[in-house]
């Protein structure tokens, strides 16, 4: 069993972490100090820092498997592509408000970004047309985006007011390709619309590695696990559990669950962190 490795973190709070889809040693971290850091777990001193813009970065994701591109979105309202080998940056798209989540969908060949402007936008990162042109498809959301994840062929997006939308990758990729051909507005239909089963603000949502469902966590110290399949048989399997509760001075204190992660091997989720910044 290898020992724990400690990596030198950024100078401000970390907003997102992303392991490389195939190389388990490479890790990206985005931060409020506007940097994206690329770590190598096998050589902890090897840290590369990138600064796509001067604004805090909210999310970072690896691009296509064989490419050296990573995508990030932040407070500067744009989705930026960074080439980690050449340290060059390219603005892919813009939103009207901070970009909270970005995700590259390998199977759909499309980059998805969700923002506080309550839109979900799809981009084709291979297109060399400038940002804000019709190479992006935009879908309105019921509310501001807070968290997004994808696995299998589903993309789950958690928003304010406890909304949850689930998209199918195939819809997304067809919307994107039809948009580029026709240059007309295309709409993206969500696969499912839900209200979260948790009662307070959602903090994080993560899909199960087997693509059957997702877990969502909220500020009330609870994690809910739900499935995509709408049949009542499967719906019976929904459950939720309390976590990160402590008794402080005799008072039952409820901590928010800010981050979730599924172990790729295990079936069950392992909620991580808690509490505010940093």
């Amino acid at each position: 069993m290898t020992a724990d490795v400690e990596l030198q973190g950024p100078s401000d709070a970390i907003t997102a972490l992303s392991f490389h889809p195939s190389d388990p040693d490479r890790l990206l971290a985005s931060s409020w100090d506007a940097s994206i850091r690329l770590y190598n777990a096998s050589s902890p001193s090897d840290v590369k820092t990138y600064t796509p813009s001067r604004a805090p970065v909210f999310d970072v994701t690896w691009g296509a498997n064989d490419s050296s591109k990573v995508y990030s979105g932040g407070l500067d309202r744009s989705v930026i592509e960074t080439d980690v080998e050449t340290s060059t940056y390219r603005v892919i798209a813009n939103h009207d408000d901070a970009v909270k989540c970005v995700k590259y969908l390998e199977s759909a060949n499309c980059l998805v970004s969700a923002s506080w402007d309550s839109t979900l936008r799809l981009h084709d990162p291979r297109s060399s047309t400038p940002a804000n042109s019709s190479s992006s498809v935009s879908a309105p959301l019921p509310s501001k985006a807070f968290s997004m994840d994808s696995a299998g062929d589903k993309l789950v997006l958690a928003m304010a007011q406890r909304h949850v939308l689930i998209y199918d990758h195939r819809n997304l990729s067809s919307a994107l390709s039809s948009n580029s051909e026709q240059q007309s507005t295309t709409t993206i239909e969500p696969y499912q619309k839900r209200e979260n089963s948790l009662k307070f603000m959602t903090r994080s949502v993560r899909c199960m590695p087997n693509g059957k469902g997702y877990a969502s966590s909220s500020i009330e110290g609870r994690v809910a696990v739900e499935y995509f399949d709408q049949s009542s048989e499967v719906q019976k399997g929904h459950f939720a559990f309390k976590c990160h509760r402590a008794t402080v001075d005799g008072v039952d204190t409820v901590y928010p669950v800010n981050a979730l992660a599924f172990h790729p091997m295990c079936v069950f989720s392992s909620p991580l962190l808690r509490v505010g910044f940093g």
């Binding site: 907003t15 409020w32 805090p56 909210f58 407070l75 901070a98 909270k100 506080w116 501001k144 807070f146 304010a160 007011q161 406890r162 499912q192 619309k193 839900r194 209200e195 979260n196 089963s197 948790l198 009662k199 307070f200 603000m201 903090r203 909220s218 500020i219 009330e220 110290g221 709408q230 009542s232 719906q235 019976k236 399997g237 929904h238 459950f239 939720a240 559990f241 309390k242 001075d249 005799g250 008072v251 039952d252 204190t253 409820v254 901590y255 928010p256 509490v275 505010g276 910044f277």
Partner: protein
Amino acid sequence: MPLKKELCRNFQRGSCQYGERCKFLHPTQQQSRPNALGFGMHGGSNQQQKPNPFGFGVQSSPQPRAAADFAMQHNQFKPFENKWTRFSPISNASGTSSHHSDNHNQSGNHKCTDPESCKRVIVEDFEHERPSWKLTCYGHCKYAPCDISGDISYEELRAAAYDDAKRGLTLQSIVERERNALNFKLSELENLLRSPYVAPPSSTASQSTRLGFGANTFSSSAQNSGQSVALSFGVLHASSSAGGSSPYVPSNTALGSLSSSSTFQQTASAFGQSYLPSGVSQQMPNPTNNNFNIVVGQKAVDDQQKNNVHQSGHETRDASVWLKEKWSPGEIPEEAPPDIFI
């Protein structure tokens, strides 16, 4: 019924992770088995009616009420509800089972035909499940839309701080803005607690829930402020009953019993504390992290119009402040005192 099994404590609290695999007794799953036939029938018809939001229609179904009540109550847990339930046995025993059958069809049209049980849910949630982060939305029904909207994530708050700082606002005003937002949100939660839906609950019920509200969550400090808060309750109710504007005007007997109980003052002080953010009476911790966006203010106005069935909720917050003998630095209100206090 297997007698050797104990009642599962976690299940009663709504947090049993094991569900069907659980070694202990979950009242629903054990009882449905021996009565498979009888329950099965009810279950079948319940299932058909499931598309009714939350199975409210089931209660008015033509099934015989006597034994079926009990049956229906548990059945509505079992087939559609996961083993997790938020509701304590207290609310179960109320017999208002319709609320528990959460709608997995996700149609989410919760019609609160029973405001009492809804209110109980809300009270419980606020008592046991109060999150540390206050700027949140809230929905008392699992799959239903929010009762209180306008949640702000930590990142938004911080981003708003950055924006405000760029526009040249001082740290003090940024902190003030955020405190207002927090207070407003707290009063929104208060309003919801008192008047979740238009259907009026009994006034005594609303009184008792208010008393219990802050007790567990906040330790009661500052006993002298507790005095003035208790006073404020008395004054407030007197004024509102004089004004006659609110449907929740408590009866005189309720008011009398309130002020005479010794526990009242203690809980009231905790209650009063709950309005003020915990950081206020000390210094505001780490002000750079606290900030607020103008958008929230607008949303707050909308929400206030939506949530304020009666005005006294908002006034209560101010009332306690006005009646204080002495204000600590963070508490000084910005607006002028309302007319009742002049």
